[in-house]
């Protein structure tokens, strides 16, 4: 009954173009952000930060980037992990090679480098589309895997092949505890999400979607496919690259190329498809689902097994995890191919009419 838009009349186009056109949505989002900034750090323990919240935030950012490319511009990518790697290693090199470079600048430069690489690997999209393109992006994945493993310059000649960073600091704020890391990721995510939303409701977003829906018509209307596609690759890779830098610096602190393998790319694609293609909200839903599911399965499977008097070995759990994960993905695709975001919006639609649906 509370969720109504009655009486909220819009008298200008500006009011109609707001991100959350319904007042209740605006308040709800504001409340969530305030709670995430103030409430969560007070309530949650360290394990949750490390295992769930920080990965969730960073992967949401990456999923957001993938969603711009796949969901908004319709260009399938299986190389997102590569751009995370580029972001992470570029940020690392900026960080250690330029003394006194502020941490945030390193992150953003990492993102920019990823964007540049993204443009290069986006060039095939001008000629091919769909599944062919998906395979072309795998080329980026395997190439970066190899480069960061075999070219010692990128890892600063680290003998073990893994790189690490320590003593993160922004101005005088030392980022040490999980709460610090969480707040850093959260802030960056909120800002980036806002940028993504702005782009998708502006001319550039419409160009992307036009290319996605009907590329010939888009060109006829005066959209240059070259600019639209490559800008989508650039923006997407920028987001993904920044997420990669965060993943390396903040979440892992020391990492190897395997952290950004092709599995990561698949995982990110799963997130946007399960969460909802072409939806900012969907990226968050997808990331939450994919981050929480394995942890939840890991916790509950042995428990369920013991209820039935079966003890499940660790190997058994990991096999069962694979099966359930795969099955759930299929289930989701069958039940709601438009993702959790669509369920969410139909839910809201119903709530608006509740309790008198007719």
């Amino acid at each position: 009954m509370l969720y109504r838009e009655n009486g909220q009349f819009k008298t200008s186009y500006a009011a109609d173009q707001q991100i959350f056109a319904i007042a209740q949505d605006r308040w709800a989002i504001l409340a969530i952000i305030v709670f995430a900034l103030v409430g969560v750090p007070l309530l949650v323990d360290e394990y949750l930060f490390r295992a769930i919240l920080i990965p969730f935030l960073i992967l949401s950012l990456a999923a957001l980037g993938v969603n711009i490319l796949v969901g908004y511009c319709g260009q399938i990518t299986l190389g997102a992990g590569a751009f995370m790697a580029v972001g992470a290693y570029a940020a690392y090199n900026f960080h250690i090679r330029i003394d006194g470079l502020p941490l945030l600048v390193s992150f953003l430069l990492g993102g920019c480098t990823a964007a540049a690489v993204g443009i290069v690997f986006g060039i095939p999209s001008l000629r091919v589309r769909g599944l062919y393109l998906a395979v072309a992006t795998l080329a980026a994945q395997f190439f970066t895997d190899w480069v960061f493993l075999r070219v010692p310059w990128f890892t600063n000649n680290a003998s073990s092949g893994s790189v690490s960073v320590a003593n993160l600091q922004i101005l005088s704020w030392r980022i040490e505890t999980p709460v610090d890391k969480y707040l850093l990721c959260l802030t960056i995510l909120v800002v980036f999400a806002l940028l993504a939303k702005n782009m998708t409701r502006c001319a550039i977003g419409r160009q992307w979607m036009a290319i996605r829906d009907m590329d010939v018509a888009a060109e006829v209307i005066g959209i240059r496919p070259l600019f639209a596609k490559l800008s989508a690759f650039a923006v997407s890779s920028f987001f993904v690259g920044t997420a990669g830098a965060l993943w390396g610096f903040v979440h892992l602190a020391s990492w190897e190329p395997a952290a950004f393998s092709v599995d990561r790319s698949f995982q990110l694609l799963f997130m946007v498809i399960i969460g909802g293609l072409g939806s900012i909200m969907g990226s968050f839903f997808g990331a939450a689902f994919i981050v929480i599911l394995p942890i939840a399965l890991n916790q509950f499977l042995p428990a369920i097994g013991s209820v039935f008097g079966v003890s499940i070995s660790t190997a058994g759990v990991s096999h069962a995890e694979l099966i359930i994960f795969g099955a759930l993905i299929i289930f989701f695709l069958i039940k709601e191919p438009h993702g959790i975001a669509r369920m969410w919006s139909t839910g809201k639609e119903k709530l608006r009419l509740w309790p008198f649906p007719h």
Partner: protein
């Protein structure tokens, strides 16, 4: 010279294995428009089944002959792959008719996870051997025409022979039988095929069965060469550039693409590797495919895409 030819032949042999995996891709893509990422998992599953059945069958039945044991194991694994195909159609594909390519691709990734999980739960996740009695010892040929002769694995020859046989059988099946004609019709246009009374679902089951068989053969050859292990599932990723090179819808494309990639990988590894570092073969194949895409997007033998407005 002799070394070059040996490298070349080694590449051709590796390429033939890629061709077999790529063949599975192409079959399924042609008939159902599904880009089957689970093909690698199917190869792994089939190889696991074959390896374990051939070890279990003597225990169960007390058969001594290895040939008989392998034969029974082959039949059992084949039946298992048919069951898998049937289940996939029943539980997954049937519910995803008319979804777009990306959704179907995701679904096959889901299938891949399930297959890997189920496979290792049933058959275990250690490294197994498949021994179908392929000759192992290498032979020397052409000693008179080339200095030093050529060292060839006999096993590779047998494998190549089997692959060639399989491909010609498939070709006969597609071109000469009524079912093959129906398959080609479905490949051209789902709706039109359905409207003249071709049962889409049955066609899909058949094509997944065929792909399962191809996976089994590929799995046996790979398995007897390199052993059956989890990493077999990643051969799908190795075979992707092949499909791109050859064209997603072309069976000869899959074969020739596989050979090109195989040779390219080996030659690049041997002649380029020393200069830029080892382990380049996987991305080399992809770059090759990528460059190729820029100039001929539909692949070597794929159908040209014409946009209509």
């Amino acid at each position: 010279m002799g070394f070059f030819i040996e490298t070349l032949i080694g590449g051709l042999m590796a390429g033939m294995l890629y061709s077999l995996v790529a063949l599975g891709f192409v079959l399924i893509f042609k008939a159902s428009g599904v880009f089957n990422f689970a093909q690698g998992a199917m190869v792994l599953f089939a190889a696991l089944a074959m390896a374990r059945f051939s070890a279990w069958v003597p225990e169960w039945l007390g058969v001594d002959s290895r040939l008989l044991a392998n034969g029974i194991a082959f039949v059992l694994s084949g039946a298992l792959m048919f069951a898998v195909a049937w289940l996939i159609e029943r539980l997954v594909l049937r519910h995803l008719v008319n979804q777009d390519g990306a959704t179907l691709l995701m679904a096959t990734l889901g299938i891949a996870y399930v297959l890997e999980g189920v496979g290792s739960s049933i058959f275990g996740s250690d490294i197994y051997k498949i021994d179908v009695g392929m000759p192992k010892e290498p032979v020397m040929i052409l000693e008179e025409s080339i200095e030093g002769g050529l060292l060839i694995n006999r096993e590779d020859f047998v494998a190549a022979l089997i692959a060639a046989l399989l491909v010609s059988l498939l070709w006969l099946f597609f071109q000469k039988t009524a079912t093959g004609r129906a398959l080609r019709a479905v490949a051209d246009d789902h709706q039109a095929a359905q409207s003249i009374g071709i049962p889409l679902n049955r066609i899909w089951v058949i094509v997944w069965c065929v792909a399962g068989l191809v996976a089994l053969v590929a799995g046996i050859i790979w398995g007897s060469k390199l052993g059956v292990q989890f990493s077999l599932a990643t051969v799908a990723l190795r075979a992707l550039p092949v499909v791109i090179l050859g064209g997603l819808t072309s069976i000869p494309g899959a074969i020739i693409g596989g050979l090109i990639i195989g040779v390219g990988e080996k030659l690049s590894e041997v002649y380029l590797g020393p200069f830029i570092g080892g382990g380049i073969e996987i991305w080399f194949a992809y770059q090759l495919a990528l460059v190729f895409l820029l100039f001929r997007p539909q692949g070597l033998f794929g159908e040209k895409i014409i946009d209509r407005v």
